[in-house]
């Protein structure tokens, strides 16, 4: 880069000035405060912008704050940078030689910075490498790293437009784009591919697991089918067993039916032999027999009764005695007799009472008397009526008897009462006497009555009469018995006749064709009845056979049984040797259970089959999945190979770049050492530069030690730094645009000798790198001119 012209509309103390620069060495002369540093700063600001020092260079008079710099690159292109520092980024315009606005081409981020873009040197590096501003020759240690980096960038090899950094960036960008970085989560192809591989591998595992499950399901189903087949076989065996039992049962039943038919035929034949009594009313034989037996019993009873009656007949003597007794003792009935007996007793009592009464009367008379008369009358009445009552009783005038008896009783009661009263109170004695008299009288009367009756009846006494009466009774009983026997015999005979008639009637109805005695007829009837009963028995037998048949057949049809038997035989079923209900029930229960198990197994098989069909129908094909897995593995392998290749490329380029940087430092040392030897007259000829930090050290001739520059004199140190800057500027030129070298009064601490030695070096360097030397020393200015510098006087601002 060559600076051609700087027009300062206003920058610091400079205003309305235009400075033209020559190729090679330029010397700007001016006294202090003339604006030398301002001019240097204006050049830097034109290339890089005012940055943080914008206010430092604002014109104090408030005038325009702007510059216009025209520069030319090594390829011949010319650019004009116009900056109005009051408008910041909006106040920058860059034009090419044709007047085209090329500001976007020189933008570095948001900043228009021709220095960054065309020089490829950042501001810090430019200021510290290409500028010595205000006597600050020493390179700012804090900027060393950026300078080193900038130099490294400038020296990273290849044609000018090829930069290892750019290559590394492209490689790294490719790595980011096609591989990904460990930290990136979105655009990370390798991670994405590995994620896809993991997912697809899971799909493959799932498909294999599903296939294994289906295989297990099939095995389970096969096991259930085997079990079902075993159960079916057992069921078939049980069914055969049931059929064998059934066959045995059928055989037995059909045998029973055969026997039944034989028995039926026999019974029917037997029945036929009783056809003659088919209509015989056997139901009436009981009545006939009963009638017969009744008749016979009646006949026997009548005969017996007649015999008894015959036996019970009275003898003539007894008959006579009976008549006599009836005449005498029989003339009184029991009541009369009892009355008579009572009268007799009464008489006896009366006699006793009379005696007693007499005694009492005597006593009472002795005690007193009263009411004897009445008492006596009552007594007499009582006794009288008592006798009358008896008489009435004898005469069977019962009502009178009762009346009289009642009167007598009443009278006697009155007597007793009256007598009692009288006798008790007043006429006890009389009563007693009367009682005695009456008693006596009663006794006499009674005795007389009794005696009359007895006499009439021919009894000597009541006892006699009683004996006669007893005899009469006995005879009466005998006679009665005879009569009863006779009557009974008659009655029985009558019954016999009735029974005979009944029998005859029945026999005439039941066995009309039979003659003979009743017994004979009855026997015939009985015989016929028996035959009829036998016939009925045969009928019952036939009916029983029918029941048996029903029991044998139950609800089955015989032909169906035969057909079933034949069917079982045709199927090879051999009837069981033994069978029975219990055995059949056991087999049936087994069949039911096995059938249930078989159906359960069928259900299980159906379920498993359905599950299997569903699973097999939805099972994923493994081949495409595994193919994807292998393809993803291949892709991952390719990406990893690309990653390795990119890594190797990046590492190789970085390493070689570092080596180049290392070489650059050696070259910097070599160039600077040569120049330093020339400048110091051989005193200092060896320096060391750290390529990363640019820290410089020099070998001290007195000790041979390599020491930091701070250990040297200020002048020597400045010389070293100036030469380092010049060397760096040359080395920048190797890769990029040569930056202009701006040296603002760098020789402040130099002696004239060293200045003289250095100027040629600077002038020589200026052939390649335009150098602008700022000085306030007229001698230095003249010396510079002598080595070919173009002089610019700040006072005139014109190239001289």
């Amino acid at each position: 880069m060559k600076l051609r012209r700087l027009t300062v509309a206003g920058f610091g103390r400079l205003a309305g000035r235009t400075f033209a620069f020559a190729d090679g060495l330029n010397v700007v002369y001016g006294p202090n405060e003339a604006g030398k540093s301002t001019l240097a700063a204006a050049i830097v600001a034109s290339l890089y912008g005012s940055g943080r020092r914008k206010e430092a260079w604002r014109p104090w008079d408030g005038g325009p704050y702007a510059t216009t710099l025209v520069y030319q690159l090594a390829d011949g292109r010319t650019f004009e940078v116009r900056r109005d520092y009051t408008r910041d980024t909006k106040g920058v315009a860059v034009y090419d030689a044709d007047g085209n606005d090329v500001a976007p081409e020189v933008a570095s981020g948001k900043t228009i910075s021709p220095g960054d873009v065309h020089l490829q040197i950042p501001y810090d590096a430019f200021v510290n490498a290409s500028c010595v501003l205000q006597q600050s020759v020493e390179i700012d240690p804090e900027r060393n790293a950026s300078i080193a980096t900038a130099l490294a960038r400038a020296l990273d090899g290849g044609p000018r437009e090829d930069a290892a950094l750019g290559a590394i960036k492209r490689l790294e960008d490719a790595r980011k784009s096609f591989v990904g970085t460990p930290r990136s989560t979105v655009n990370n192809p390798l991670r994405i591919m590995r994620g896809a591989l993991t997912r697809r591998s899971s799909d493959a595992d799932a498909a294999r697991a599903a296939r294994d499950e289906l295989a297990q399901l099939r095995e389970r189903r096969a096991a259930v089918i085997d079990e079902r087949d075993r159960l079916a076989e057992r069921l078939a065996v049980a069914e055969r067993e049931a059929k064998a039992l059934r066959a045995a049962d059928l055989r037995a039943r059909l045998d029973q039916l055969h026997v039944y038919r034989e028995d039926l035929a026999a019974l029917q034949a037997e029945r036929a032999s009783y056809d003659d009594v088919a209509t015989f009313p056997a139901d009436r034989i009981g009545a006939l027999d009963a009638a017969f037996y009744e008749w016979r019993a009646a006949d026997a009873a009548a005969a017996a009764a007649e015999a008894d009656a015959e036996a019970a007949q009275l003898t003539p003597a007894l008959r006579t005695e009976l008549a006599m007794r009836r005449a005498d003792a029989g003339s009184l009935d029991e009541i009369e007799f009892e009355a008579l007996r009572a009268a007799a007793e009464q008489a006896a009592l009366a006699q006793k009472a009379a005696a007693a009464a007499a005694n009492e009367a005597a006593a009472a008379r002795r005690e007193g008397s009263g009411g004897r008369m009445l008492a006596g009358v009552a007594l007499a009445i009582g006794a009288f009526f008592a006798v009358l009552a008896v008489a009435m009783a004898i005469a069977h005038w019962w009502s009178f008897t009762e009346v009289f008896a009642a009167i007598a009783a009443g009278a006697l009661a009155v007597v007793a009462w009256r007598s009692r009263e009288r006798f008790l109170s007043d006429r006890a004695a009389a009563r007693k006497q009367r009682a005695a008299d009456e008693s006596l009288a009663a006794e006499r009367t009674a005795s007389a009555t009794v005696a009359s009756v007895l006499e009439r009846l021919g009894a000597t006494s009541i006892d006699d009469l009683a004996r006669k009466r007893e005899r009469l009774g006995e005879l009466e009983r005998i006679a009665a018995a005879t009569e009863r026997a006779t009557a009974r015999a008659t009655e029985l005979r009558t019954a016999e006749r009735e029974a005979a008639a009944t029998f005859d009637g029945l026999a005439g109805a039941i066995v009309p064709d039979t003659a003979g005695t009743r017994a004979e007829r009855c026997a015939v009837a009985d015989d016929r009845a028996q035959r009829r009963h036998k016939r009925d028995g045969v009928d019952n037998g036939i009916a029983m056979l029918g029941l048996q048949r029903s029991e044998i057949l139950r609800d089955d049809d015989e032909f169906a049984l035969i057909a079933e038997r034949d069917e079982l035989a045709a199927a090879g079923i051999v009837p069981a040797a033994s069978f029975g209900r219990g055995l059949r029930d056991e087999v049936d229960a087994k069949i039911v259970e096995l059938d249930r198990l078989v159906r359960d197994a069928d259900l299980a098989i159906a379920s498993l089959t359905g599950e299997l069909n569903l699973g097999e129908g939805t099972a994923a094909d493994l081949a495409p999945i595994e193919e994807d897995v292998e393809r993803l593995n291949g892709e991952i392998a390719r990406i990893e190979a690309l990653d390795r290749a990119l890594g190797l490329a990046i590492a190789t380029v970085e390493r070689l770049t570092h080596e180049a940087h290392q070489a650059f430092a050696r070259r910097l040392e070599t160039y600077a050492a040569e120049a330093l030897r020339d400048v110091t007259g051989g005193r200092y000829s060896e320096i060391r530069v750290d390529p990363a930090t640019l820290i410089v050290r020099a070998r001290v001739p007195e000790t041979g030690a390599i020491v930091a520059l701070e250990a040297l004199s200020t002048g020597t140190r400045d010389q070293v730094y100036l030469l380092i800057r010049i060397a760096m500027a040359r080395m920048f030129a190797e890769g990029l645009e040569l930056p202009p070298l701006l040296l603002d009064d760098p020789f402040a601490f130099w002696d004239d000798t060293r200045i003289e030695r250095c100027l040629p070096i600077i002038a020589h360097n200026a052939f390649d790198a335009q150098t602008i030397l700022f000085t306030s020393s007229p001698e230095l200015a003249a010396a510079a001119e002598r080595v070919g510098a173009a002089r610019i006087d700040l006072v005139t601002a014109a190239v001289v």
Partner: protein, 365 residues
């Protein structure tokens, strides 16, 4: 009366094809080939259909595979005899052990010979693979039945083993003769061949009915074997395959731009069609800045093919010249070129990346 046998092997249903796209279409082609084998057996009125192993890939076979095979077996209707191979060994969960295997299918489930009469004077001896390596199948084998004795198995002909092929159940022609077998139907090698001696055919591979891997040589089809009443065996190889696996090398020497690259590819691939599955390897040296984009080539030319896989082995021109540069690029190229020439694949890839990066071009994988 003659007995006609149609023999096939190495169908490899459910194979995965990671080295070429169009895996689903390839698998469909394998299934279609097996259908054509059954069609052949029906057309030729074959008495039996034999399978010499590797009918399917056991790791991936599933219900759909079973449905397909069982339907094909049932469609043939006549006896099918299968000798399982190392890819479809007989195990409890193999398709061959399923309870819905059609009744006309017989599987030789043991790694020992068992005999099945095919006709009055023809006996088939079968030997099947189980997961364990079966050893030499004809060691101590003795076939003594009268008439023709046909052996069916899956094994490796030791004397004609293709390079890189894994050996299983090895045998020799002499062992077959010594066993008394009249003829052997086998499988394992994907290239079909018929091996004979002075007495006639000894054994035969039908080859896989469709190519399975790149580089397979030999016939791809089935065998029609006729065993005459006199016991003489006649073998006919019938092509079945309709697809091809093609390895194509496409030279890009001196191609200076993308259109040159496309033209070279078009010339090389123009001869192939929908039944061809092509693995194209780009070789040669292209000019700097020439874009070789695999994805573009696949997109442009793959549609006319069954599938197209592109492997880029081309190099950018003049690495040697760049290596002489004294700058970082030159030194980087020199270093990586040296390593690449020694076989370092990472260095070879890095070489192209470095040059492209320094050229400012787009780096593509």
């Amino acid at each position: 009366m003659a007995t006609t046998i149609v023999h096939a092997a190495d169908v490899h249903l459910e194979t995965v094809f990671p080295d070429v796209r169009g895996g689903s279409a390839r698998r469909a082609a394998l299934a279609g080939a097996f259908e054509r084998i059954v069609d052949l057996a029906l057309e030729r009125n074959a008495d039996v259909l034999t399978i010499g192993g590797d009918l399917y890939e056991s790791e991936r076979a599933g219900p759909a595979t079973a449905r397909f095979l069982f339907a094909a077996f049932a469609r043939f209707g006549k006896p099918v005899f299968i000798a399982p191979g190392n890819h479809d060994p007989f195990v409890a969960r193999s398709l061959y052990a399923r309870d819905d295997l059609p009744p006309n299918v017989h599987v030789f489930a043991d790694a020992s010979w068992s005999a099945v009469p095919l006709a009055a004077d023809v006996t088939l001896y079968g030997f099947g693979h189980t997961p364990a390596e079966p050893g030499r199948p004809f060691a101590d084998a003795t076939f003594e039945r009268s008439g023709a004795r046909i052996a069916l198995f899956h094994g490796s002909d030791e004397e004609r083993c293709p390079p890189g092929k894994r050996s299983t159940a090895p045998f020799t022609a002499a062992e077959i003769r010594a066993s008394g077998a009249t003829f052997a139907l086998t499988g394992h090698y994907h290239g079909g061949s018929i091996v004979s001696d002075e007495r006639g055919p000894v054994f035969a591979y039908p080859g896989s009915p469709e190519p399975v891997k790149f580089g397979e040589r030999g016939d791809h089809g089935a065998l029609v074997v006729r065993v005459g009443a006199d016991g003489i065996v006649a073998v006919e190889s019938v092509p079945i395959a309709r697809t091809r696996l093609i390895d194509a090398a496409i030279s890009l020497d001196d191609a200076g731009d993308e259109s040159s690259v496309l033209a070279a590819c078009e010339r090389a691939l123009g001869a192939y069609g929908r039944d061809d599955y092509v693995r194209a390897t780009l070789t040669g040296t292209v000019q700097p800045g020439t874009r070789v984009e695999r994805a573009l080539l696949v997109e442009r030319y793959g549609a006319a093919l069954g599938a197209l896989e592109v492997i880029d082995r081309s190099t950018v021109a003049d690495y040697a010249r760049i290596a002489h540069e004294s700058n970082v690029r030159g030194r980087a190229v020199a270093e990586l070129l040296g390593a690449a020439r020694l076989g370092d694949e990472d260095a070879r890839r890095a070489l192209a990346l470095v040059v492209t990066a320094f050229d400012g071009g787009d780096i593509t994988p």
